[in-house]
Amino acid sequence: MSIAFITSIPIILAALGELVVERSGRVNLGVEGMMAFSASISVAVSTLTGSPLIGLIAGGLAGVILSTVYTLTVIGLKLDQIVVGLIISLAGLGLADLISSTGYRVGYNIPHGSTLHNTLIVITIVLPPILWLILYRTPQGVELRAVGYDEHVARERGLRVDLIRAVTVTIGGLTAGIAGAYMALVLYNGRYFSGITGGWGWLAIGSVILGYWHPIGVAVAAYTIGILLTTKPLLTSELGLPPTLVTITPYIAVIIALTLVTIISRRKPSLIPPKPL
């Protein structure tokens, strides 16, 4: 399996979760914080239990816990989703550092080629088409997208808007959690350090837009960003590009994508995406 794909797995998973959230008409900007928090938790739990699998599961649950804050405050109390999302990001990053300060910086890793790692690879490959099937070919998926297109009409038609959104936000928390745990347990060999997520959560949110809110498109976009992130040594040594330029490319790519999306939706109004952002 190519190193670029292995690197892009956390971005793909987090982006697909955020896609589900945004399709239901909400945006959770807390991805970066949920990923960092779960990275830290997964390292701590894998140390405590000696099992990277339990660490991975705990990481997923850590993401769910932070997403519950979003569910309670944004869906429950109707607080501003942008403000709460950013607060979750900032708080998650800080809480992650706090947990690792208690002594859990090195845990048990998931080795490349292990059954668990291969399972995660397979899940990442099959998830986009399955998600497409669910979103476009099942009644539940259609209801979910209906909520995202027009909340009021959906409510009039008897859909439980808040419940559907609570579910999508929880799914987003779970995928971001697994993504963060994957970064720590696989990509950084079971280690946590401050700043481990390095903006990848934001790149995942960018991939959702870059992939135009379509499961396959989002997966391809996240993979492309993963390629940009992994080919840095190659591009700098072979093409002689300055390392800084290569490092900032994914971030610039997202900015360009954001501008292109508007131009596309102006040309083809039928392609108008859900408008959470």
Binding site: T73, V84, G94, L98, T102, S194, I252, I255
Partner: protein, 330 residues
């Protein structure tokens, strides 16, 4: 729910939220090696001794400068998070002007020049974000966040490459004669705050911002140009954040070295703006409060509290205040 006079309710909500959030954050922080005892004794020290008080005034600079500019942007519903990058850029150009430009300016010229230069580079960065929002409707939150990372990596590149001196990845330090004390920082910060407050409450432009923020379509019906408003607040908030970067460099940072995580003064400014309900005067006060939390965090760094937890404390407080206000206003 609560038997207070309605006019007192917001204040009661804010107070309950502040206390509850701060308490929760301190209790959570006790799991760090610093422990509850360490947290509690530092808490008392920060709010009762003169030394930390003076330090809060120094650290106040970048936080407050970012926050007061953001109050204008957020009133116009321009949700930029770019202050972090603008502060870093302001500090980069300040270091360039004083240590790397070969101009050898006298401090009396160099300091005002760096404030203007830092402010305008911050404004330029804000202008880019505003331009993309106005003309191609690119979401300003993501664009400004991406730029924060771009600036952070440029800073790391400068500090570990072209500007590096000696064996370690660290730049030259600004000379003693260029450094600013707490008084100069407070004067600059208060002036910027008053400027933003006057703009917002005593000018036609401020009225336009408020009308546009509340009802963009009404504003356009009355002939207000939405593009001009958005671009203006984008540049103004960029300007104040850029000045914040100058104060950071000349006030306490003095040099640059590569960092894996952005220092967070801009993000603190964002939180402060929300906490202050986008009122510049309240934002100044709230910045001081957040600056004291930063001093608290720094004082506990040696005993094992991660500095990154400071932003978590502040985030928890802001969320707690928002929840308390919502619950008490029902």
């Amino acid at each position: 729910m609560l038997a207070f006079r309605p006019s007192l309710r917001p204040l009661v909500g804010v107070t309950i939220g502040l206390i509850a959030g701060f308490a929760l954050a301190v209790i959570l922080g006790s799991i760090s090696p610093a422990g509850f005892k360490g947290m509690a004794s530092s808490l008392v020290w920060v709010y009762t001794s003169p030394a930390p008080l003076i330090f809060t005034l120094t650290l106040l600079g970048p936080i407050a400068c970012a926050a007061v500019g953001l109050t204008l942007a957020y009133r116009a519903r321009f949700i930029t998070i770019g202050s972090e990058g603008q502060i870093l850029l302001g500090s980069i150009v300040t270091l360039w002007l004083i240590e790397y430009s070969d101009l050898n300016l006298h401090p009396t010229i160099a300091i005002p020049t760096s404030i203007v230069l830092g402010g305008f580079t911050g404004a330029f960065l804000g202008f880019v974000v505003g331009l993309l929002r106005v003309y191609v409707n690119a979401n300003e939150i993501l664009v400004s966040l991406m730029l924060n990372y771009v600036i952070l990596y440029i800073l790391n590149h400068l500090a570990s490459g072209p500007w590096r001196v000696g064996a370690f990845a660290i730049t030259r330090s600004v000379g003693e004669e260029y450094r600013l004390g707490p008084l100069a920082i407070v004067v600059t910060t208060v002036s910027l705050t008053l400027l933003c407050w006057v703009l917002l409450t005593r000018s036609k432009f401020g009225l336009a911002i408020k009308v546009y923020g509340r009802a963009p379509k009404v504003a356009e019906t009355y002939g207000l140009n939405s593009k001009t408003i958005v671009l203006a607040v984008a540049m103004l908030s960029g300007f104040t954040s850029g000045v914040g970067g100058v104060l950071m460099m000349l006030g306490f940072q003095h040099n640059l070295s590569p960092m894996s995580v952005s220092p967070g003064y801009g993000y603190m400014g964002v939180l402060v703006s929300w906490l202050s309900a986008n009122n510049p005067l309240v934002a100044l006060l709230a910045s001081w409060f957040f600056s004291s939390i930063l001093v608290l965090g720094r004082s506990l760094q040696a005993s094992g509290l991660p500095i990154g937890y400071v932003l978590a404390i502040q985030s928890i407080i802001v969320l707690s205040v928002m929840i308390a206000r919502r619950l008490t206003s029902r």
